[in-house]
């Protein structure tokens, strides 16, 4: 899997085939806050992740590859990490990458300003120092999955440039060491990027990318048809039919995610036992649904039925003995009857407006086994608020997109976190145990042997689908997109015709 890495200069000489003339238009739904400053949560990752590169990047789900650093090593106690920097990396303003830039990006005071990054905030990142061309990071307490969750998410930004022009100047003309450089930005309308000729990695095959903001999906599809756009953002649901009809393709992208049912009544640790405590009820909800059909209808075939809560089937510690439940109406009915609901049941079903089609399909399937779900759609913010702040009362069922990413899955059983999904003294113990394991290999073993078998008890939720974050519509000018990055958008692997 690991690529043979070449120096940027050598690559620049090799690359530049005639296809370099290609310029593509990418219709996205919004540009976010139109800021490119990495500490803002609302930065637009399509753009920032192509402008800047992290030290280590997530190459494919659950596998890391070196980027600006040629690798990394960790101390025994898990408190120090060292990153040897790649030589000859040049920022878009022509300045070379130095340890100073990395130290600037990860200076403890600076890290505090990142939104999120809670595990290395609050003094946990003690210091960062340069040892020659290697950067060393010192932590107070170990952070499992440091690479996955933090290092790979932070692009390195040029210290001198930022200090000279300030954040505002940076936002006007962002500079990084990523595969694309910034060309222009017309507020509310488009951002133009061009391939960075002195990129250290493979030279992008697209010379120029324009991101145009088109909030309405139907308009994006129309643009794909007129040729005003070559790639469109997140065409799921009704618009997938449109793509097929006009012989355009869909391409899944982004992080793996799960659509899962969460039972509100189980979120409170001091609850009295309810009907969803019974795994038979939860399984009946899953068995009743033909998830393959749904995956095809809503996700353009780019989704698969999920087997276990939180854990995806492609995770390295996944155990194939946990196969997805089939679509089996009779068994669903039987399980319900066994659990004491021979007449079926009724509950309030809360979902985000963005999951409308999926929710409607679920409701419809459940109806056939005698389950009546009263659908209540909330906008995504209202839903996460309702979940995180526990503002819903009673035993509603929520449909949410749950994240499943290695060690991060353990976070959901941390009673101290904002989003504690389900916590008890037993889970707290387990959480502490898992967090103490720093060695990635041992982590995998622990996850496989300890966490996985307990999954259905630890996470009393019903998984529905596994999918990538979204589906992109590809126009005729796009040949393929041979791989995607998880946190970055990987435009350099986009292949035009």
């Amino acid at each position: 899997m690991r690529r043979i890495l070449m120096t940027g200069a050598a690559l620049a000489a090799l690359a530049a085939p005639p296809a370099m003339a290609q310029s593509l238009v990418f219709a996205i739904n919004n540009l976010g806050a139109e800021t490119w400053w990495p500490q803002d949560i609302s930065q637009n990752k399509y753009i920032t992740s192509n402008l800047g590169d992290p030290l280590i990047r997530l190459a494919a789900p659950y596998s890391l590859e070196p980027a600006l650093a040629t690798g990394w090593s960790m101390s025994e106690d898990g408190l120090s990490y060292s990153f040897p920097l790649r030589a000859g990396v040049v920022f878009h303003d022509g300045s070379p990458l130095t340890p100073d830039d990395v130290m600037f990006t990860f200076a403890p005071a600076n890290v505090e300003k990142f939104v999120g990054f809670s595990a290395i905030k609050g003094g946990n990142l003690v210091s960062i120092e340069a040892q020659g061309s290697t950067v060393v990071m010192h932590l107070k307490s170990p952070v499992p999955a440091l690479m996955d969750n933090y290092i790979s998410r932070a692009s390195i930004w040029p210290k001198a440039y930022v200090e000279r022009f300030g954040i505002e100047g940076f936002n006007k003309r962002p500079v990084g060491a990523g595969p694309f450089r910034f060309v222009e930005h017309v507020k509310g309308q488009h951002v133009k990027l061009a391939a960075w000729e002195r990129y250290y990695g493979d030279q992008p095959q697209v010379k120029e990318i324009t991101f145009r903001v088109i909030p309405e999906a139907a308009t994006r599809i129309a643009m794909l048809r007129t040729g005003e756009a070559d790639i469109t953002y997140n065409e799921i649901g009704a618009t997938t039919g449109e793509l097929k009809k006009y012989a355009m393709r869909g391409q899944p992208y982004g992080q793996p995610a799960q659509a899962a049912l969460i039972f509100n009544s189980l979120l409170n640790p001091e609850r009295s036992p309810g009907r969803f405590d019974d795994i038979r009820v939860r399984q009946a909800l899953t068995l009743a649904v033909d998830r393959k059909v749904i995956a095809d209808a809503v996700y353009f075939g780019a989704a698969t039925p999920a087997a276990l809560p939180v854990v995806g089937t492609r995770m390295p510690f996944y155990d194939t003995k946990f196969a997805p439940l089939p679509h089996d109406v009779a068994r669903a009915k039987k399980l319900l009857a066994d659990a004491g609901y021979p007449q079926g049941m009724q509950f309030d079903f809360v979902a985000a407006t963005t999951n409308k089609d999926l929710a409607v399909l679920l409701v419809s399937f459940w109806q056939r086994v005698g389950i009546k779900a009263n659908l209540n759609l909330l906008d995504p913010v209202s839903l996460s608020r309702a979940w995180w702040q526990r503002t819903l009362q009673g035993d509603q069922v929520m449909l949410v997109g749950g994240l499943a990413n290695g060690m991060a899955s353990a976070v959901y059983i941390n009673s101290k976190s904002q989003v504690a999904m389900y916590a008890s003294p037993a889970t707290d113990t387990l959480f502490a145990q898992g967090m103490a394991i720093i060695d990635p290999a041992k982590q995998i073993t622990w996850l496989h042997d300890t966490l996985l078998p307990a999954m259905n008890d630890l996470y009393p939720i019903a998984p529905v689908l596994e999918y990538q974050e979204g589906v992109l519509g590809l126009g005729p000018k796009v040949k393929s997109w041979d791989r995607f990055d998880l946190h970055s958008f990987g435009l350099q692997w986009l292949v035009p015709k």
């Binding site: 809670s118 509310g188 913010v381």
Partner: protein, 305 residues
Amino acid sequence: MARYLAARILQGLVTLLAVSVVVFVLSRLSGDPLTLIMDPMSTKADLARELARLGLDRSYPEQYAIFLLNALHGDFGQSIFFKRGAFEVFLEKLPATLELGGTAMAVSILIAIPVGVLSAVHQGGWFDRIARLAALTGQSAPVFWIGLVLILLFSVTLGWLPTAGRGSWRNLVLPAITLGWYGNAFLMRITRSAMLDVLDTDYVKLARLEGLAERRVIWKHAFKNAATSIVTTLGLMSISLVTGAVVTETVFAWPGVGRLTVDAIFQRDFPVVQAAVILIAVMVVAVNLAVDVVYAWIDPRVRFG
């Protein structure tokens, strides 16, 4: 005249104050935006710290007082999403909306008023029938649907005009038609009925009895009187134009305040929501004030009353 305008300005200010209360209350009820901003792994202490930083831990009356005082200085707070002044964010998007709304309004005025007048003059004739039916149809279809159909027709099928975005005048054509559609129909109907009322008056009868040319009777005598209701309608249209703009801007990816506000609402970016709604209300009140001024300019009874 001074009394009349002073009364209108006073009423407008009271209205705006009330609007600010409504918007403030609504925005606080909609919940804080932190759930969007906070990292899923952040702790409750992180949340409390962030609330304090944004001043959201104070009591509501306190928050309102601070908000109002700042708003009077043009400071609607920092956009939580954009991390910039909410007022600044709004102002950035305003020109696009003004361009679109102004064009739609101008198109409406140029089309709807003459058609309405002709329709009234030829009441019951074929022109009147067709114009009325067209106007009624224009008021009977969802704006976004019209927009998409126009895109399919003129961009996808015929390829005459670009699909979306802002740029040259060609980009403006479809959104302006879409946005102007409803107002056009509305204005035409109002113009027609106002003209019918005026054409029925003694002074128009007398103007005809004086042997004036029909064109002069219609435009100089009748239209100027009908203009009072038409101008009032233009004031009313300004607010429905905002509503139409929300949808039109979405369909045509027009980077204006309508879409900005919708996004801000869904992002719970309430400094921006507050700024947008209040500033839109300010514009509406200002347009209505302008309407009152034009009204006074047209109608001497108001001017000297």
